[in-house]
Symmetry: C2
Subunit: 384 residues, 2 copies
């Protein structure tokens, strides 16, 4: 299939581009390096440097014989997007092209505005470029489990059947996110759902939990193909942050009580999920929402696992409950459904002790690069 | 009180600015004339010309002795907004500064993008200017009943208590709007609710139905103070369109079956409602949502009323069911609650035969200005 991966230089985008190319699809990876710029601006560079996207594609081609087309461009620029969709006539578009950091979106006006403008502008352009040049293409959009927040009821997969005063309806599951970044994904879903029902788009919205991991099958061919691994408070997801803290001998920074529970998944499972969404298309006029994670853990549980495995591997791991810089419930009900992707064939890679040990080993090989200044929270959810 | 009216040149904004000034408040009316530009670009000019905002304020001051401060500026420009909020230190901000036409937002990419960028950009700047310079101010935001769409259940005022699998929660009422314009107001509400709960803003979101009418008490002092009265398919609400069609001898254009039911209100009641919201402030961290309309009618009922009153007043009124250019349910359940504003003291002006006759008389005085080319729908909800 002809597949466009928007945000193809990202933590998920680059592994996805390789994965699809390895499977024999024709892949276009599009990126404007926004994440790299923000990482530099906020001193949140990844643990090890990665080649630029064109170089990555060259290295991948040398290793695999498979080609990835690289397009450096801004998805909020409609001229670029319109031309791309016209020329490529994609069958599938995987849309990762968003500013992905919650803390960044909470830093101040400029960062919040950039997040809003980039994320909604990119999604809006995906919608219109598809309507104008590839109306039958399947848009696979990365949403986030964070859209739902932590409601007091079971979280269904996107839709909720409600009965009210004796009458029934089926509605988008209520959402209340914890950062402006996560809120932009709520707005994305609202906007996609509008154009799906009025213009007959076909969209899969993957509500993904925090992803962890440094390894994918395709990246194993050459260490320069590794994903961008962030461990800072801006871009680092909590598991990746804890892995680096464990290796660096810095106490794991649990925010507040640590009862915050989320659904997590291995980077390898993100690839499986996006692939399953692509291989199982949907009819025009349908918005399919799938909750994309494999296991739910509290922050305390993750910290305890990494502490246990780290100590078994000779690391002096400690846990430090620090004041929570965020505004979030630290103890809450959490029961999100996630059967849709399993039914499509997902075979989860659980977070076993072996997996944690392997990730700790991978981080250790870059231990000399760890910058402890990136570890403590630098952004608080306070008033302006 | 010190009140900023954003969108102060609009159909609702200008009457609101006069109404508040007449009540003794200190009023700043802010506008960038976007609606005037779009009206010109789409050949959708109002029935009669209105002076510019500075001239309106001069005429009003001459007639009433009350001053309205005029600011010509773009609410998506944060430099302007930030300076304004810092200098004025408003106690109340009434936010009407949005591209308000559903059909315009459905014309094509450029119009949709302009609607998205203007409406979200303005709301985002209201939020941030308030957080930075007037964190205690009460933001009175004009939403729309159109955010809810036409669900199969009773529509509550903004919030819904749900029980699911034996557990309970209170959530934003589900919303599914019929145009991109109405969808931007869904996004506005989501964004406001996010900043209300994380940063303690105080916001009243008024979910308003279509407004009709040409008269307010303050506008009676001088005919040049009249509201901008649109009767075209882009900016004209259905009642105002039908009034002009009745006077022009053009059959009333009922879209499709005409069973589309909405909650309507008189322009005079918009002023009452916004005033009641202002006079009844709310605590920090609260998003109050009020459904702002006084009576629900189907399009057929409105057409029949105007036909009846028109004929009684010597007009040859006919009704024409034309193909529906929109994508909407033409027969549906509709039971929206609207007790909140009544409880605050709203005294509705119902759409009596006398009110209709008075409006027809007012339109008749401008009958020679009616441009029949503006009457038929020029925009369809079709794919790009």
């Amino acid at each position: 299939m002809r597949v466009i991966v928007l945000g193809g230089d990202g933590y998920l985008g680059w592994p996805t581009a390789m994965h699809f190319a390895a499977k024999g699809h024709e892949v276009w990876a599009v990126d404007n390096y926004l994440r790299r710029r923000i990482a530099q601006e906020t001193s949140s560079e990844a643990l090890f440097p990665t080649p630029n996207l064109a170089e990555r594609a060259e290295i991948f081609e040398a290793a695999s014989g498979k080609r990835i087309h690289v397009v450096i461009g801004d998805c909020t620029d409609y001229r670029m997007m319109s031309t791309l969709f016209r020329d490529v006539a994609p069958e599938v578009v995987v849309h990762y092209a968003e500013q992905p950091s919650g803390p960044y979106s909470m830093m101040g006006y400029d960062q919040a505005r950039r997040t809003l403008d980039n994320n909604l502008g990119a999604t809006f352009n995906v919608i219109w470029a598809a309507m104008e040049h590839a109306p039958d293409c399947h848009i696979v959009k990365l949403g986030t489990m964070g859209e739902y927040g932590t409601p007091n009821i079971d979280i269904e997969e996107g839709w909720l059947d409600i009965e009210h005063n004796g009458r029934k309806d089926r509605v988008l599951f209520p959402r209340a996110a914890g950062t402006l970044y996560h809120t932009t994904k709520v707005l994305d879903t609202d906007m996609l759902w509008f154009y799906v029902r009025t213009h007959g788009l076909r969209v899969t919205d993957l509500m993904q939990g925090p992803v962890y991991g440094l390894a994918t099958d395709e990246a194993a061919a050459d260490e320069r193909l590794a994903p961008n691994f962030h461990y800072d408070d801006i871009f680092g997801t909590v598991v990746n942050r804890f892995l680096v803290q464990a290796v660096a001998g810095v106490p794991l920074t649990v925010y507040g009580k640590g009862g915050q529970t989320r659904g997590y998944l291995n980077l390898k499972d993100t690839l499986q999920c996006v692939n399953l969404a692509m291989e199982n298309p949907i009819p025009a006029g349908e918005l399919r929402i799938l909750n994309q994670f494999t296991e739910a853990f509290s922050v305390n549980e993750i910290a305890a696992s990494i502490e246990r495995v780290g100590r078994a591997n000779g690391l002096d791991v400690k846990i430090n409950n620090i004041p929570n810089p965020r505004k979030e419930r630290e103890e809450h009900y959490y029961n999100p459904k996630h059967s849709g992707l399993i039914e499509l064939g997902l075979k989860p890679h659980p977070m076993t002790d072996e997996v944690i040990a392997e990730m700790l080993g991978a981080v250790k090989r870059h231990a000399n690069r760890i910058d402890a200044r990136k570890i403590m929270p630098r952004v608080a959810w306070s008033a302006a």
